[in-house]
Amino acid sequence: MSRAALLVLADGRFPAGGHAHSGGAEEAVGAGRIRDAADLGAFCRGRLHTAGLVAAALAAAAADGTDPLALDEAADARTPSPALRTAARRLGRQLMRAARAAWPDPALDALAAARPRGAHQPVVLGLAARAAGLTPLDAAHAAAYESVSGPATATVRLLSLDPFDATAVLARLAPELDQVAARAAEAARRCAAEGPGALPAASAPLLETGAEAHAARPVRLFAS
């Protein structure tokens, strides 16, 4: 296994469409819930322990070899907002393209064929990690990190926030990222024995309702 493959997969410049999404930060900025770096830290912490944990667990389970179609259904069940489902599938499709180019693998081909409009992004992320020879814990780390790095980058653009402050927010969250990734990997192990019902289903209602409001806005910088 190559640990450096994790750096490739988790690189913010991995060409999988993430740059056009704010992870709910644009709506939170518009609603006045993110105004500075401290707010960004609180937003990211909330997202990490809810949507981030769920994404990390789905990714870990996919990397562990759980049936990706069952996980895709589990992801739907954990994503009440239709706008967020659409965004997750769109990003999953974009990630699929990049992953198949980077780590060609029959399991990726099979999921692409079964879900031509895109599977949920965390499921594709986990399968990509597996194709890259990475572990479920690695996949969980990548998903957890993405759940906070996206909003942080977006907020730098939305508020002209000092990029050093935004990066410091991410650095301070690193120990919690490790904890969330470990919980996710543990849940993926249980999932192997008990099925996707064992995966966490934490949710952040403001992210869900905010995504619906955001999708209806005619003027916005980010797709979600």
Binding site: M1, S2, A5, R13, P15, A16, G17, G18, H19, A20, H21, S22, R90, R93, Q94, R97, A98, R100, A101, W103, P104, D105, P106, D109, A131, A132, G133, A154, R157, L158, P218, V219, R220, L221, F222, A223
Partner: protein, 229 residues
């Protein structure tokens, strides 16, 4: 599977610029239009659609920055049926979507080919950007860089990847040159200096031949694309 150093690089499916569709037929030619904000990209796309739509099967992808203005303008002008126009969202970074991470644009192009194809030509309009914005070869087969005379007649001299390397440079709004004091001869000479043999077209969509010369250039590209089929 995981790749190690002795695995040969063998793309076994189309992730970007492969000139064929999965079924083996030749896909549509993709031409990108880039250039600074307001230089006349959408107006050129609209005029090209009117000039070419009777001879070729066309579709358009727009990359708006924070609205759907460009797509809506094209819809309002009815230059093509609505199902042939798709808007891509770029997250405040139009050059990223056409160069560094082309996945959303590729998906839009492929979806158009699938839903209304087979197509001969897809025009991809970038969101207005700076002089360094160019299209990835993985997305566009050829690119047109559109500047205008009102943005300053020193832009061709300044160069930059768009002006210097685009397959076609269009200097638009020549009708305004007298009003803004731009020296067209100097713009043409500077462009020639930067671009060598690469073509430059001075255009006004408000007078004279309009989009005619650019449409003729696009027809040449289409003929060449088909000849290599």
């Amino acid at each position: 599977m995981h790749l190690d150093h002795d695995t040969p690089f063998q793309p076994h499916h189309t992730h970007s610029a492969d000139p064929h569709r999965p079924d083996g037929t030749r896909r549509a030619l993709r031409i990108g239009l880039g250039g600074p904000v307001g230089s006349g990209k959408t107006a050129t796309v609209a005029a090209l659609c009117r000039a070419l739509r009777d001879s070729y099967a066309l579709a358009v992808v727009t990359n708006d920055i924070y609205t759907r203005e460009d797509a809506e303008f094209l819809l309002r002008e009815a230059v093509l049926p609505p199902e042939r126009i798709t808007a891509v969202e770029t997250g405040a970074c139009p050059h990223t979507a056409i160069r560094d991470d082309i996945s959303a644009n590729l998906e839009a192009v492929e979806d158009l080919e699938e839903s209304v194809g087979p197509l001969d030509l897809v025009l991809v309009e970038s969101g207005g950007d700076n002089l360094t914005a160019t299209f990835s070869k993985g997305l566009a087969d050829a690119q047109i860089f559109v500047i205008d005379v009102a943005g300053g007649d020193d832009i061709p001299r300044k160069g930059g990847p768009g002006v210097t390397t685009a397959d076609l440079l269009v200097v638009n709004k020549t009708d305004l040159a007298v009003h803004v004091g731009s020296d067209l001869a100097r713009m043409a000479a500077d462009a020639k200096e930067q671009r060598g043999e690469l073509p430059v077209i001075l255009q006004s969509l408000r007078s004279g031949e309009g989009v005619g010369p650019v449409a003729a250039w696009v027809r040449e590209q289409l003929t060449a694309w088909r000849a290599t089929a």
